[in-house]
């Protein structure tokens, strides 16, 4: 419900906190919501890490697009990013009638011991109250995997979650709707820093001409530079309000993924249209991270361990870039040009990803192995696409990997080794051998070179096993690992 693009950008931040309309014009734009809250004595919300990994700082915002409550990490959200939003913290849940169902459930289930993680969990449960799609046990895990608890061992918290998920209590939160922002966009300056949130692509491109400007999308990556490395970028440009950069839609037979589409939105949108991407998103970050993090941010940081790149590479996706000279399209395989560098020229931004969804007959796999199953960065991630002709010969082979080189990459030697061969264990073994030759992974705390080598080949072998065992790969139950080779647990 943001108002028309023509209005003057606002220079003041306005948002509603626990039902109270507030304005802010002094906090620096790189102030995080968590810092702002705690400084103003809203100390119910805790800081456990300031890097998005513990969830103690979780608050909820009402997403203007969907009109749904979203749990987010307040430690990574910059204050200007909540301009025009409704924010609810743990202090805002209880009413005169008593505790909110999410709070009551935690008390009844003995979900708190030391209580320090509790406000964050309560807010994740709060979101769950108003979700109607938490219909499977693994989704319950997913809902709270962004919250760490060191005391309880989670069982009681999970019980509390199960008791409230999808209850949709008939209360003021259900009835809430997003307030309109004061103006079209935002042009906020304080403490010598600036934050722009234009509403049009032209507006963004015009601002991008300045050499000091830095694009920010969900800030789940950039926020770390601020909270962990104490950087204070002088000028940030948010793409958040540019409608045309967001969303998932078909253009003819091409699927168009807007760069600023939030990962959770992408997860929902691809469940049927692109299950392979959906499968990778299941083990991506946490609920909170996926609500803020975007597709574009995941690709533009060009991290060698970005999890979506392998999937999109295996699908032969193209990247549409927008710049002063208009749009240009590059295959994603040429988008990553080196360690943390992309083909983006100064003044350009990533606007879209376009791809043709593979035919139903194509076999696909997407895998991620990390030290911990949930909310962890990959040691290796991989995506595979195989198409066969009637004789069972491979007509198209794509194997893309993260974590094994300076950029996400296609394992071209292995692909070549498969092409034109029967889809058999022998061919796959040969491809795995070719893969070994091509990769030069490094050792770091997330895994040794040996580990990454072995994983890369084993994931290919495991993909083959999946194709052998099942006509298609279902995504349900709570499985032991990234490869679905046993029934898993439906509970």
């Amino acid at each position: 419900m943001r108002s028309s693009p023509s209005a003057e950008p606002s220079t003041i931040l306005r948002f509603v906190l626990n039902g109270v309309a507030l304005q802010e014009s002094e906090a620096r734009p790189t102030t995080t919501l968590l810092q702002w809250l705690r400084r103003r004595r809203h100390t119910g919300t805790k800081e456990g890490c300031a890097e998005g990994d513990c969830g103690a700082c979780t608050v909820a915002i009402l997403d203007p697009g969907s009109g749904r409550w979203r749990a987010i990490n307040s430690c990574l959200v910059l204050l200007p990013m909540i301009d025009g939003c409704q924010v609810v913290t743990v202090e805002g849940l209880a009413s005169r009638n008593g505790l909110h169902p999410a709070q009551r459930a935690m008390v009844q289930a003995q979900g708190s011991q030391c209580g320090y993680c509790t406000p964050g969990f309560v807010m994740s449960l709060f979101e769950a109250c108003y979700r109607s799609d938490l219909d499977q046990p693994w989704k319950l895990d997913d809902q709270i995997c962004g919250n760490l608890c060191r005391c309880t061992g989670y069982r009681p918290i999970r019980d509390a979650l199960a008791s409230v998920a999808g209850q949709r209590p008939d209360d003021r939160f259900r009835a809430a709707s997003a307030p309109g922002t004061s103006g079209a966009g935002l042009r906020y300056e304080a403490g010598g820093q600036r934050f722009d949130a234009p509403t049009t692509l032209e507006g963004a491109l015009a601002l991008l001409r300045s050499p000091t400007v830095r694009i920010v999308a969900g800030a789940t990556d950039l926020g770390l530079e601020i909270t962990q490395r104490h950087a204070h970028p002088p000028h940030l440009l948010s793409l958040d309000r540019i409608a045309e950069l967001r969303g998932v839609a078909f253009d003819g037979d091409e699927l168009v993924l807007g760069a600023t589409t939030a990962l959770s939105e992408l997860e929902d949108a691809t469940e049927d249209t692109l299950p392979i991407l959906h499968r990778m998103l299941r083990y991506f970050g946490s609920r909170q991270i996926k609500h803020r993090g975007t597709l574009g941010g995941n690709l533009c940081n060009a991290s060698p361990i970005g999890d979506l790149a392998p999937v999109l590479l295996a699908l032969d996706a193209d990247a549409v870039l927008q710049g002063p000279q208009g749009p240009r399209t590059v295959p994603l395989s040429s988008f990553f040009v080196g360690y943390r560098t992309t083909a983006l020229e100064p003044g350009e931004l990533l606007a879209q990803i376009r791809l043709r969804p593979p035919p139903d007959s194509a076999r696909l796999g997407a895998y991620k192995v990390s030290r911990r199953r949930e909310l962890d960065i990959s040691a290796v991630s991989a995506a595979v696409q195989i198409r066969l002709d009637d004789q069972g010969q491979v007509t198209l082979a794509r194997l893309a990997l993260g974590g094994v080189g300076a950029t996400p990459l296609r394992a071209t030697a292995a692909e070549a080794a498969l092409l034109g061969r029967p889809w058999s264990e022998e061919s796959v073994q040969q491809a795995a051998h070719a893969l070994d030759q091509q990769l030069t992974p490094l050792s770091d705390p997330r895994g040794s070179s040996w580990f990454r080598h072995t994983l890369a080949r084993n994931l290919l072998l495991g993909f083959y096993e999946e194709t052998r065992l099942q006509p298609f790969t279902p995504l349900s139950g709570r499985h032991t690992g990234t490869l679905i080779l046993s029934p898993g647990d439906p509970r």
Partner: protein, 768 residues
């Protein structure tokens, strides 16, 4: 939520549950900031070991908002702290002891200003080659302690005569506490040079004592208060002291309130961890897997200062037997000094590290003898005399463990599941399941016997409401909930008429740390005594109000006082006491009876009693990636007559999952320069919801404690942590199934058992 039913031995919500879920429960960093507050940020050492330290703070001192930059030279009193050995400089003197060691404190008008100024402080020193591991430390001859040795019988003869001799080496890993609330202290200067310190500490008296020492103040000038902690797990037993004293130093120096809060990265880089241990052992068995002799040499990595490493080693030695009778033995342990943060107390306090060694020996014996590991364990349990003597000569009265084993095996369906798993494994190429069963016997009491004391102060007001003070601190373990229930039980009042006060040294002096699982044993008993004293004074007043005959006592229950069919409210009695000038406050004190230990002889009765538990774990391993999932855990645990059963179940679940984290996903990694590389949850992975067993079945043994404990309950904080070892046993079982000939396949699995470690072990099995 008035609970008028019986307060003890019944489920109850956590005393602060509503505060937790509303965000109203306050932790130190949440307290309203006093006017004039300064924020302190630490300057830390940029190398692991160095000498000729020079700190140049000229630039930082003049930076915006900076009020002072303090170094060791600014400490007016004793520059050393340390809970036992006084060997830890509060701020570096002329040497650097580890990468991250606090060197100076910057005090500024805001935390961000202080942080920026801290970056400008230049720390120079002449670097020395650091010692970063146990074996390196042994080679360099650097030790914190002399060997502590416990012997019994002729171990060499026992080993020489054994049917099977196993020589093994075990390395257990470090573990970061990862309490959700990082270290924090707020020091406020008061009248006449006094100081009030709010600290997130398990040991307020230690904070008081160390502050008095460093600032050259009488202890009476310093009070330390603890509202509650956002987790401690031992990490705030000795190591909350340094931040608290540094905040106090700042407050003393500037005359202004000072807060020192460590962010996660600072906390993880500066504070010590669970001690890594190296255990070398020789174990002799007969053909049936009965342990005949065990010789163990333990080394722990103490880090740069002694901290609590000595007692941690003692407890490791006391637990090398775990639940097993060892006929002949020689156990010896020594703490190695390294150039790393000083390792410290962590739930279990060396016990888990010691137990892991004997469990390793039993597993290997089972594998080599071709016996199921649970059968070997069953055969070695403590039993009737003479199999009831611990290595240090304390008797184990009526050990329940064999019966617990049999009960768990039955209720969890062990033999049926063994069969089903073998069948499933035979047809599954890439996923295998495994089972592991591990018992625990855990000695309860501080091993330094004098620490087993506690005090309480109960105040009853004329309206019948109660303030309860005791020396224990609340860190989530439910101590306040239990102790409040004890008080309610004795006074016969509803729990919600009792307010548990912040722990404070101005109410209870000379407290021991809340540690060693002993919090409710010690403080509960002290509270019971204080409450009893008040009740005794109220009895005659109540009796006369009720018009009872002499010799008939009234009953205190549910906020009422009953006698001869009549009742009056507790409040009326309290008011009558006031009117009749009867004092309604009392202190209580408790010391654990009959414990003593002689470390020279390695003999004594260090423990008041033992707590027992046993777990059966089932895992599934994905052989291609090394990932695993815990399918199910069944635990039977002995908590005596549980004071509050649901709190005990919560402790068991939480401890188990933390134990799993220690041995699987959590890994503290230091670079070659001694820098901590895993200083945040992005790289240090504690268990998350998906690491929890898909099924958890916890049962309490429900059998009164043999010792005269409060309510015949037993301690529960630490013992179940040990049960995490069952996951390793189950993983070894599953990994072994990837090999060809199962009986031969002894599994080598490095700890922590990360996917990488498991994958290596699987590949080794497959290569056979």
């Amino acid at each position: 939520m008035s609970a008028v039913g019986p307060a003890l031995h019944h489920d109850a919500p956590h005393e602060s549950a509503v505060g937790h879920v509303t965000g109203r429960a306050r932790y130190v960093d949440d307290l309203p900031e006093p006017p004039g507050l300064l924020h302190a940020v630490l300057v830390t050492a940029p190398m692991a070991r160095g000498r000729a330290l020079v700190v140049d703070a000229v630039g930082a001192g003049g930076a915006e908002g900076v009020v002072a930059v303090l170094t060791a030279a600014d400490i007016p009193g004793d520059p050393y702290i340390g809970p036992i050995v006084h060997d830890e400089p509060l701020l570096a003197l002329d040497q650097i002891g580890y990468h991250g060691q606090p060197v100076a404190v910057v005090l500024a008008e805001g935390r961000e200003l202080a942080r920026r100024a801290a970056e400008q402080v230049v720390v120079r020193a002449e670097p020395l080659e650091p010692v970063l591991g146990i074996e390196q430390g042994i080679a360099a001859g650097r030790f914190h302690t002399a060997p502590h040795t416990i012997t019994r019988g002729d171990v060499e003869a026992a080993l020489a005569g054994a049917h099977l001799l196993i020589t093994g080496e075990v390395q257990t890993p470090a573990q970061d506490h990862f309490y959700l609330e990082t270290q924090c202290a707020l020091a406020i200067p008061g009248e006449g040079g006094s100081l009030e310190i709010w600290s997130s500490t398990q040991h307020p008296t230690e904070v008081q004592r160390a502050t008095a020492g460093a600032l050259r103040l009488p202890q009476a000038a310093v009070s330390c208060r603890v509202p509650r902690m956002g987790g401690g797990f031992g990490g705030k037993e000795s190591q909350a002291t340094q931040p608290a004293v540094l905040a106090a130093l700042g407050a003393r120096h500037t005359g202004r309130p000072v807060k020192l809060w460590l962010d996660r990265s600072e906390d993880m880089r500066i504070t010590g961890k669970r001690h890594p241990f190296l255990g070398r052992y020789r174990a002799g068995f007969d053909a049936d897997g009965r342990l005949l002799g065990l010789e163990v040499q333990l080394y722990s990595d103490g880090g740069w200062t002694a901290d609590l490493s000595g007692p941690v080693m003692d407890r490791a030695l006391f637990h090398l037997d775990n639940a097993y009778h060892v006929p002949a033995l020689r156990f010896s342990g020594r703490v190695v000094q390294t150039d790393l943060p000083s390792n410290t107390a962590f739930r279990g306090f060396g016990g888990p590290q010691g137990i892991y060694v004997v469990e390793d020996a039993l597993e290997r014996a089972a594998s080599r003898l071709g016996l199921p590991p649970e059968a070997v364990r069953r055969r070695n349990y403590y039993g009737d005399a003479p199999r009831d003597q611990t290595p240090y000569g304390q008797r184990v009265p009526g050990p329940p463990i064999a019966a617990m084993h049999d009960r768990l095996v039955r209720t969890a369906g062990l033999s049926r599941r063994r069969g089903a798993i073998a069948a499933a494994n035979a047809v599954s190429r890439h996923t295998k399941r495994g089972l592991g069963l591990v018992p625990v016997k855990f000695g309860i009491s501080f091993t330094a016997s004098l620490l087993n004391q506690a005090g309480a102060l109960v105040l009853v007001y004329a309206d019948g409401t109660v303030q309860l003070n005791h020396g224990g601190t609340e860190m989530g373990q439910g101590l306040h909930t239990k102790v409040r229930a004890v008080c309610a039980d004795v006074l016969g009042v509803p729990v919600d008429t009792i307010r548990v006060m912040d722990t404070s040294t101005d109410k209870i002096p000379n407290t021991s740390a809340t540690a060693a699982s002993s919090g409710s044993d010690l403080n509960g008993a002290a509270v019971a005594e204080a409450a009893r004293r008040i009740r005794e004074r109220m009895v005659p007043i109540a009796a006369s109000l009720l018009g009872l005959d002499e010799g008939t006592s009234p009953t205190f229950r549910g906020g009422e006082v009953y006698g001869e069919g009549r009742s009056i409210s507790f409040a009326e009695v309290a008011n009558a006491c006031w009117v009749q000038q009867i004092p309604l406050s009392a202190t209580g004190f408790y010391r654990t009876p009959g414990i003593a230990y002689d470390p020279q002889q390695g003999r004594g009765t260090p423990f008041f009693y033992f707590a027992w538990g046993i777990a059966l774990v089932e895992v599934e391993v994905l052989g291609l990636t090394g990932e695993h999932r815990i399918q199910r855990v069944d635990i039977l645990h002995d908590v005596g007559n549980s004071l509050i059963p649901n709190i005990d179940v919560g402790q068991i679940e939480g401890a188990f999952v933390q134990g799993v984290g220690w041995l699987t996903g959590e890994e503290v990694i230091h670079g070659d320069d001694g820098r901590c590389l895993t200083h945040g949850p992005s790289t240090y992975k504690v268990p998350s919801v998906g690491d929890v067993p898909l099924q958890m079945r916890i049962e309490l043994l429900d059998q009164p404690a043999e010792a005269d404990t409060i309510g015949r309950s037993k301690a529960v904080g630490e013992p179940p942590f040990v049960l995490g070892i069952a996951v390793i046993s189950a993983l070894r079982d599953a990994i072994g199934a990837f090999g060809e000939a199962e009986a031969e396949a002894e599994v080598e699995l490095a700890l922590p058992a990360t996917p990488e470690a498991i994958l290596r072990a699987v590949e080794a099995q497959r290569a056979r």
